[in-house]
Subunit: 365 residues, 2 copies
């Protein structure tokens, strides 16, 4: 879950709170020569590995492509606004841009989860297919329009891990009463499966596990988890990340600010977001492997797969939860149906392409 | 195999051979105001679905981002130079840019296959990880430098299909004497497995299958294969595409031309390539599913998985072929070792992330 990183950002808010934001370039009618100085607020601690690098890479790319005509200054969580106020800050134009994850805003828009990741939903490649060649981006723009925001996909972590557990999970029985830090729709599902879902900021995970306040926690994957030292407080590392199979990060732009840009700078923003969207996944793909090897070989972490019956029950409940929310929330229903229809097709082909290839390669090792 | 599409381009060369290329803007020292008019030659027929759309999207994106300062005119195969002369044309500066696939140039550089796809190699996500966060891009630039070319990844089809067969493949015996259109390293492997690999241009596949000149052929995947009507001449559609698990397409830029660009336009070229690199995979991910459903539901195509023992033998021979070439070709060896080291790690994590998630989702359907 990325959600906790935003909360971690809150904890780390002191890091740069004395820093002054750059002046805005204003939103007067644009000429090709005009220079824009924009603020990009994020839900991540400044330069947080992977997630926090994406907005930095984006800003650098935009600055170079525009030859300095669009200068984007990146603020870590709490430096200008707290992590979970990024949406409002960009909506109101306090900052022109934000980087985070759509499912942080489910308090305002229940359906926003679909633009990040939902339990047993799309993986990274499928998310990108749905967003850019399915109905995804059009729906996302429609949902964010009333908030004066233009959204772009801008990063993906790939399938996450199911999490760290202080005991083995051999059956559904082992979930009963288990206190796990797992927020969002995944947490709702976990509760119904007999566990007790809690939400704890990232910075408290280590201590909470160590002192036994929680029995289990999910985070991201090897690359981020190793840095947090979670292997020191939990022995078992479970997969697969059923609750977050392909989390998309978002770049949001204040609509009035976006409209004030000349066409070339608008396209530079859009293309840079697209480039960063892939770049983050490339980094996780390269770094997760190395981190996993370290966890296993140097730290003796036990990697385990969740048993079939546990996965089956979690999948059953996930569908139930989605159906129940859909019955009450027409917007949620509309987006759920679009994504579900795409998923049924994508899964059909991926069973015989990506999955079948992984299987063939493994059995011939 | 994409290779045949380049050859198809040769067949379709008459399509636009009367068209005059745009004038080049020249390579004098650049000022921010200078306008560049560039030619982009491709190995694809003009606007060929998926593969041929990528250079068009790239040119459009670059034109918009540069506000017309870098104007790229796209030529289909044969319109300016034949498909398989793209490398030389860009190397010599006849055109400033080219779009195609690195493994078309294995006649010059045996190791070029690694920058597209090799049998039992990396899938799309892994290729992007190796290229951008492994040693891939650095090696690619090193290999192309003597040819005066700057390479970029610029598209991916995802795992391809194993191909169309006019008989069932139940064991290795069924490959003996089978005449299959399968070029490149995959063809070499197929020969050693007892088959007879031939190379036939894409435009001749339908007739060759219909008249029994060949017993089987591979092409790309459902999205491209449906359009070619191959389901009308072969009943069995096999997976997975062991011979091309994640083909990367390339954008090549003449080095002198690239160096003549101001920094902002260089970055625009690089970012647009990156955006297109993901965009093509997004399109295949969305369209393959729909095409597969049509093939199965409307055309009665029988989808089959290659048997374990066939895959195992093909994998064994693939390694043998790569080792043999590596023993004779130091550059091939160097790149093979880099990619293989990355693959061993990537595969380890993907077994418990992407593959395990696909499996969990399927078993809980």
């Amino acid at each position: 879950m990325i959600k906790k990183i935003a909360l971690l950002g809150l904890l780390l808010a002191f890091l740069g709170c004395g820093e002054r934001p750059a002046d805005s370039g204003g939103h007067a009618s644009a000429t090709p020569e005009q220079t824009f100085k924009w603020k990009l607020v994020t839900t991540w601690p400044k330069n947080y590995p992977g997630l926090g690098e994406a907005p930095e890479n984006f800003a650098k790319m935009v600055g170079e492509m525009s030859n300095g005509r669009l200068q984007v200054k990146v603020f870590g969580a709490g430096q200008m606004v707290p992590a979970l106020e990024v949406f409002d800050a960009v909506s109101q134009g306090t900052a022109e841009m934000g980087h985070g994850a759509a499912y942080y805003w489910t308090g305002k828009i229940k359906a926003a989860s679909f633009f990040t990741s939902v339990p047993f939903g799309l993986n990274a490649q499928e998310m990108n297919g749905w967003l850019h060649y399915g109905e995804g981006m059009a729906l996302w723009r429609e949902v964010y329009a009333p908030f004066n925001l233009v959204p772009f996909a801008a990063g993906n972590t790939g399938v996450q891990m199911a999490g760290w557990f202080n005991r083995e999970i051999n059956s559904l029985q082992d979930l009963q009463g288990l206190i796990m830090r797992i927020p969002g729709l995944g947490g709702e599902v976990f509760n119904r499966a007999g566990g007790e879902a809690v939400n704890i900021p990232g910075g408290e995970l280590y201590t909470s596990m160590q002192t036994g306040v929680i029995d289990a926690t999910e985070w991201v994957g090897p690359f981020n988890d190793l840095a947090f030292g979670l292997h020191q407080v939990a022995k078992y590392y479970y997969y697969p990340g059923w609750h977050e199979p392909g989390p998309t990060l978002e770049l949001i732009v204040n609509k009035a600010a976006y409209d004030s840009l000349p066409k070339d700078l608008q396209q530079i923003v859009a293309s840079a977001a697209r480039a960063v969207n892939q770049d983050m996944l490339d980094e996780y793909t390269a770094r997760n492997n190395t981190a996993l090897e370290q966890l296993v070989n140097e730290h003796g972490v036990q990697v385990r797969r969740l048993p079939d019956d546990v996965l089956q029950e979690l999948a059953r409940i996930s569908e139930q939860v989605k159906e129940e929310i859909a019955a009450e929330d027409p917007l949620f229903k509309k987006i759920y149906e679009s994504q579900q229809a795409f998923q049924e097709q994508a899964a059909e082909y991926h069973n015989i392409s990506e999955e079948a290839y992984f299987e063939a390669r493994r059995l011939t090792d």
